[in-house]
Symmetry: C2
Subunit: 290 residues, 2 copies
């Protein structure tokens, strides 16, 4: 690595944790942070997540040869565009976007001949806390990172990105771009929409205060993701619109079926549905560790 | 108390925890467990949750003068009916049912002149684990217990039930029966339906295994309640059918509104909705401690 330096675009939860982790793992001895949010950048520096913050991409590209984009996905295009002219042939870029179709489209638009240097990625390591203060050096340990390599990526470029994630303790899989976006629409984007919708729905009701007072621990778990970053999730909902709408529609049908079982007082079918879900959910930790 | 003895109908998570807690608090020095599920009863005894198990209600009523019904709500009527003939005038009964309208209707049907001795209650202390093995002596500490007293309850009877819960560290509120069922439909029953529906929906999809493999911690929190007892939740869904359907319909409208914002790519309105939910959710722990 050029001067053992990594540059991180976006120094919130994911970017800040990556900065801490690559230094802890000895992959970098210097991390430069770039963030359009000056308050977040200053905070990341004050917390010691990064060695320096700058808004001079050319300067950052002069120092670093590994770039990690961890900003809301709608910013990926302009970040890559700002980086492209300064990107040396040996440098590699990856990202942390929760959607990959839009990110790859943006990369194709702005990276030109350097497209192969960008390996799209997605660490599945969100938390409801966000911003630099939520960063943790161990955030990626035993978490899954999905890479969605594109045709233009040389095998050794993908291997380099994979190797860095593995050095941080992550379990790396690869997936096709479109498949990634469909699967994540179902297991991540849809649940976030459902949780946001529930909390907004309850907040709008006339006896909202009483409801929130009497809500228990199960409600707390169920709605934890509704505290996630509104800006980040706005971008994800828009970026993965098609797959998300498909999942929302399928889920609405499933819910309408459940409603018909309740309305028809079909206890046996309800119990069967609940049992299927409950058995599947209890088995889930095993799926995850596969 | 007659011989400082409490009888518990249903020795799973809630009943078993109550048994442990009343002994730990010195409220009882003997707890008798009654459970139609013989395996659960034996397990509760083997774990030391109760001092004895029996299916002889008359014998239990001879020993105890405080009765706690912690069985799936559909069994409340037959449990109270079996107890009624043996209930001494000084004895008090309360329950842990998540729905109160159906429980009060059942009590009115079977308790006759002894109706005033039954104080309907609901400790908001569920966990996704269930059965005797999940029981914890501290389950009710700092948790809310809602009592929904009925016209026939003498004030001192309500006070006795309240006092026992307070001695276990719970924070006791009272609520009107119908209001309880409406509020709980919104903050508890609806979320359980949404979580069950999501896991069943995903389990039914062709690439279910991949989806469960790639699901992250947020999914885990969101779906934790989908591991809850199918039998218990079948009873709740049926017992609180009307209020639940109303909530399901309101939620379906809220979700359909969100869908229209995604379909129309209305980023500003999506962000505003997410921000409202996120702000409300972050504030929630304060509501709870009120």
């Amino acid at each position: 690595m050029k001067q053992n330096c990594v540059a991180v675009f976006g120094v919130g939860l994911i970017g800040g944790s990556f900065a801490l982790a690559v230094r802890a793992a000895g992959i970098a001895n210097r991390v430069v942070g770039i963030d359009s949010n000056r308050i977040a950048a200053d905070r990341a520096w004050a917390l010691g997540l990064v060695d320096a913050v700058t808004d001079d991409v050319e300067q950052a590209a002069h120092e670093a040869d590994f770039f990690f984009v961890a900003a809301p996905v709608a910013q990926t295009g302009s970040i890559l565009a700002s980086l492209a002219p300064h990107l040396d042939p040996d440098s590699v870029v990856t990202d942390a976007g929760s959607t990959k179709g839009d990110v790859v489209t943006a990369a194709r638009r702005v990276l030109g001949a350097k497209l192969g240097q960008f390996v799209p990625g997605h660490p599945i390591a969100g938390r409801e806390q966000h911003g630099p203060d939520a960063a943790l050096p161990e955030l990626f340990r035993d978490r899954r990172v999905i890479l969605t390599p594109i045709f233009e990526n040389p095998a050794e470029t993908v291997a380099r990105v994979r190797g860095i994630w593995q050095a941080l303790g992550a379990r790396v899989s690869t997936l096709d771009v479109a498949q990634h976006d469909k699967v994540l629409a179902a297991v991540s984007h849809l649940p976030h929409m459902l949780a946001y919708a529930l909390v907004a729905h309850l907040a709008d009701s006339p006896d909202a205060l009483l409801k929130f007072e009497l809500a228990g621990a199960g409600f707390g778990d169920f709605t934890r993701i509704a505290a996630s970053s509104p800006e980040m999730w706005r971008d994800i909902a828009l970026a993965n619109r098609e797959a998300l709408i498909e999942e929302l529609d399928r889920y609405a049908s499933a819910l309408s079926h459940l409603r018909s079982l309740v309305a028809g007082a079909d206890g046996a079918a309800l119990e069967e549905l609940f049992r299927r879900a409950s058995t599947r959910r209890m088995q889930w930790p095993l799926d995850r560790s596969r």
